[in-house]
């Protein structure tokens, strides 16, 4: 049971984080969200996932799709409502798939607010899900969603009208997209990948034209490119991708078939997009001086023609169309001109592919696969020139780090070999120390390859804060420090979502409106600081605002309501504030002021803990809050103390260790002859006998003979009883090859080649608490 529910709650957490990231107008994340939701749908979902949640997912997906299609408004309010739906799904999952009527009703109500009619009976399985879907559609047309629909469709219309009407190059986009060169560079890399994948999938589609999965695979890259280019103000690319996406969407919905006309246009547009991206790269390298926005009106007109049902041959190219499958448009004189007109604008090495193909005398009937090889070198040479970095598969990197770790161990094994160590040869000793230097240098380099500055993540926050502030009518200064601090590559992506959540909190709820701030005697511009620095073996990220702070009274009230603390419990403000990280402490009902889209802070805490980090909040009412995230510098290595218990060796993370002592009898006490405590610096600390919970024979059974290591985890101190301290070492963490054991975070290979287990203190302490 725990396995299934873990994955379900993890999935829902991911969904919750994703929904936080959505900004109206940026549909790329909605696409990602759809992918996540797909995993919860009947048919895809693991059998353990309760049916009711699968049904909720179906309804949820329906709403999302309507938003994507523009049938429902792409507004923050709707996403807020969807966020609450996610919270209700989380709640249902926590209740083991037995949500009460109240949750179901709330879920339905929220969806109804968005404009999706849904009866609770559908969720409870009283009506078939499938038969409900068309019903929903029909109902929705009549209900109050009409207004929103009208607005949304008007927007879409205007986009399309703009697209069709666009004659001649548009110039205004030019300076805009150069604002954020880092993001732009990232987009260029990504766009190439996406465009490559379109080509591959189209070729696959030839084999099985009706495979919806492949059509989806073609749809998604266009969708992503559309989203990101919109975000970066690359209007032309955005418009073209958008139009193509619309066309593909018709195919997805079965409104038209994926015939050769569609395939042709998809490939042509793919090529055109590619050359536009090449152009932009040129601009990035050589400056915007000779950039010209390409003309895409031809493509847009073709797409509209296709959408309007004119599948037949276009005037003048009937001969071309008779060539079976591939891009006739490429060779239409008109189209060639369009693309070729970019040529002067392009940086010299990246001459547009299509134009070159045409000039080079590739004739109609020549198939796409012949163009592609020509296209690739152009793209590749461009990539090499750009930046002095290469992309490496993380797996390869991990393999390298692994191998180097192994090398270090083997080296010390050889060195400790009894025969070898007896050789008293100065040359050998010298060579050995040289070898050691080289291997440790190698290890350092291998490790550092996984590290990147956190700057990129931080930079994304600038925009976020600006947009948030603008939207809420607040004035906020973002102060960033330590953006050059390096962080494990694997962590960058995982830390982004929680960071956004917390930044959003700070602006949405921490900072109040300029007028309110004036009243409190604060400058009207609020301040949010984002700091990163290294402290010991950890990376610290702090988010501080000078806003209102957390309302401990409200938190306390809510906690009591939820049964998290008793009426009479005496909790410090620090403890109370940190209750916001508990699951179920979400603020769907807006009781506390810490929320984002009704999704609880527990998702932040879980995301951080997955990275073996910690998150805490300190807050002073009226003065502001400080969220602190502590992360390990790298996920690959842990700094640990090796302890011996009997014949086993365990590694305790140094970060958690406060001290180790040889207990004296007078400091040792028991409660009712069971609970053992040790007085450490005036504080009673419960003793955990490691040999007991791990069921291994130990040398000592009397704590006063043994050594105790005082550790702290999540505010709880414990004294771990061990036989001996063997030393301190930085060890490479490895998973236990499929074993997942409470109290053990992983394994590592010790100096003698054997496996040592790394303790997971949260697990050890929890084990004892049970």
């Amino acid at each position: 049971m725990p396995v299934a529910h873990k994955t379900l709650s993890d999935l829902l957490d991911e969904v919750a984080l994703k929904i936080l990231m959505i900004e109206p107008g940026d549909l790329s994340i909605v696409g990602e969200l759809l992918d996540l939701i797909d995993k919860l749908l009947p048919g895809n979902a693991a059998a353990e996932i309760p049916m009711v949640i699968q049904r909720m997912a179906v309804a949820f997906k329906g709403a999302l799709e309507k938003i994507i299609m523009g049938e429902l408004s792409d507004s923050a309010e709707n996403y807020d409502l969807l966020g609450q739906c996610v919270v209700e799904m989380q709640e249902s999952a926590r209740k083991g798939g037995q949500p009460g009527e109240k949750i179901i009703e709330r879920f339905c109500f929220n969806l109804q607010q968005i404009g999706v009619a849904l009866q609770p009976s559908v969720l409870l399985g009283l009506t078939g899900v499938d038969s409900a879907a068309p019903e929903k559609d029909a109902a929705e047309d009549e209900t109050g969603a009409e207004e929103e629909c009208a607005v949304a469709s008007a927007q879409i219309d205007s986009v399309q009208a703009q697209g069709v009407a666009a004659v001649g190059p548009t110039q205004e986009a030019l300076p805009d997209f150069l604002q954020d060169t880092d993001l732009l560079a990232g987009f260029i890399e990504e766009a190439f990948e996406h465009l490559e994948s379109i080509e591959v999938n189209v070729l696959e589609l030839e084999q099985s034209p009706d495979d919806l999965e492949i059509i989806n695979n073609i749809f998604r890259p266009f969708h992503t490119i559309k989203g990101v280019s919109g975000f970066l103000n690359l209007k032309t690319i955005n418009r073209l991708a958008h139009a193509t996406e619309n066309l593909l969407d018709d195919v997805r919905n079965g409104q038209r078939s994926m015939d050769s006309a569609v395939i042709d246009i998809v490939l042509t547009v793919g090529d055109a997009l590619k050359s536009m991206v090449v152009d932009i790269k040129g601009v990035l390298q050589n400056g915007p001086a000779n950039y010209q926005d390409p003309d895409i009106s031809g493509f847009l007109a073709d797409i509209t023609r296709l959408q309007e049902g004119e599948i037949g041959p276009m005037p003048g190219d009937s001969a071309v169309l008779s060539a079976p499958d591939f891009s006739p448009e490429v060779f239409e004189p008109e189209e060639t001109e369009v693309v070729a007109s970019e040529e002067p604008a392009t940086a010299a090495p990246s001459m547009p592919i299509v134009a070159r193909a045409a000039q080079g005398g590739v004739f109609p009937g020549a198939v796409q696969s012949q163009i592609s090889p020509a296209a690739r070198p152009v793209v590749d040479s461009g990539m090499k020139k750009f930046g002095a970095s290469i992309k490496v598969d993380v797996e390869k990197l991990d393999a390298l780090v692994n191998a180097v770790g192994e090398l270090v161990i083997m080296q010390s094994l050889v060195r400790q070999n009894r025969l070898v160590s007896r050789i008293a040869d100065a040359k050998l000793t010298k060579d050995f120390s040289q070898l050691t230097r080289i291997t440790s240098e190698l290890q350092r380099t291998a490790m550092s390859m996984r590290m990147v500055p956190i700057k990129q993540t931080f930079d994304k926050m600038i925009r976020l804060i600006r947009d948030l502030a603008k939207k809420s009518g607040k004035k906020v200064d973002l102060i960033m420090e330590g953006a050059e601090t390096e962080i494990d590559r694997n962590m960058v992506e995982s830390i982004y979502d929680p960071l956004v959540h917390m930044m959003r909190n700070s602006v949405d709820h921490g900072i109040s409106s300029p007028a309110d701030r004036e009243k409190c005697g604060k400058p009207e511009t609020g301040k949010v600081s984002l700091r990163a620095y290294q402290k010991g073996g950890s990376m610290m990220i702090e988010i501080e605002d000078d806003g209102e702070g957390l309302n401990t009274l409200k938190i306390r009230k809510k906690a009591i309501e939820r049964g998290l603390v008793g009426e009479s419990d005496n909790l410090s403000d620090f403890e109370l504030n940190n209750l916001v990280f508990l699951p179920g402490f979400s603020t769907a009902d807006r009781i506390t002021d810490v929320s984002g889209r009704g999704v609880g802070m527990d998702v932040v805490k879980k995301a951080v803990e997955k990275l073996r980090g910690k998150v805490e909040v300190q807050s002073q009412p009226g003065k502001g809050s400080l969220f602190m995230i502590r992360l390990p510098l790298t996920l690959a290595i842990i700094d640990g103390i090796i302890v011996r218990v009997g014949s086993e060796r365990y590694i305790i993370p140094t970060i958690a260790i406060q001290e180790s002592v040889h207990p004296e009898r007078k400091n040792y006490s028991t409660v009712h002859g069971r609970g053992e405590n040790l007085m450490v610096r005036g504080e009673l600390v419960p003793i955990i006998r490691l040999y007991e919970i791990f069921s291994v024979p130990s040398t000592y059974t009397d704590p006063c003979d043994a050594i105790v290591v005082v550790v702290e985890n999540e505010g709880r101190r414990r004294a771990l009883m061990v036989d001996e301290l063997l030393g301190k070492e930085e060890v490479v963490i490895k998973n236990l090859g499929g074993l997942d054991v409470p109290g053990v975070a992983g394994g590592t290979i010790l100096g003698d080649g054997r496996v040592g287990l790394i303790l997971d203190l949260a697990g050890v302490i929890a084990d004892r608490a049970d």
Partner: protein, 166 residues
């Protein structure tokens, strides 16, 4: 009816025919499909992992990779036998939850690689609903000896999953 079951049987046999690594546990001979075997190593020091069933002996370092090792005797509820110089660990690759994973199986001794043809394979005996027979793909009679053909994905994969949810 008779014909149908024979056809079914031989159909199954054809599917199972192929090369098997055979090994012994006590008096019994077993076989695992050669394609899932990665390597055979001598038994080495195993680090015990707490909170696991007895048949999971722990983890070992396989050239820098930590892999779990389970004792097939204990897994099949046979009596424990001290490890000796003939004791081997067969490292097999099975489908894990996300990616393929490697797992070591401690056996008494490794015998040989046999090419088992369809005609030699019979369906597993029906011993009621015993969960033990679920692990068995079929029985092969080779050179007068019976080899029990194990479904490694079941034996090892299921063994670990069981442990995970305990």
């Amino acid at each position: 009816m008779e014909a149908a079951s024979v056809a079914q049987r031989s159909g199954q046999g054809a599917e199972l025919a192929g090369k098997y690594l055979t090994f012994s546990l006590g008096q019994e001979g077993y076989g695992v499909g050669i394609l899932s075997v990665r390597e055979i190593i001598g038994v080495m020091e195993i680090t015990a992992v707490p909170h696991t069933p007895a048949y999971i002996k722990g983890v070992i370092n396989l050239r820098g990779k930590v892999i779990p090792v389970l004792d097939l005797r204990l897994k099949f509820n046979m009596s424990h036998k001290e490890y000796d110089e003939r004791t081997c660990v067969i490292v097999v690759e099975v489908q894990g939850q996300a990616a393929p994973m490697q797992v070591g199986m401690v056996v008494d001794s490794v015998s040989e690689v046999l090419n088992i043809v369809a005609g030699e394979i019979e369906p597993p005996p029906s011993l009621g609903s015993s969960s033990e027979t679920e692990n068995i793909m079929g029985m092969a009679k080779v050179k007068g000896e019976v080899k029990i053909l194990l479904d490694v994905d079941r034996v090892v994969g299921e063994g670990l999953l069981q442990q995970l949810s305990s």
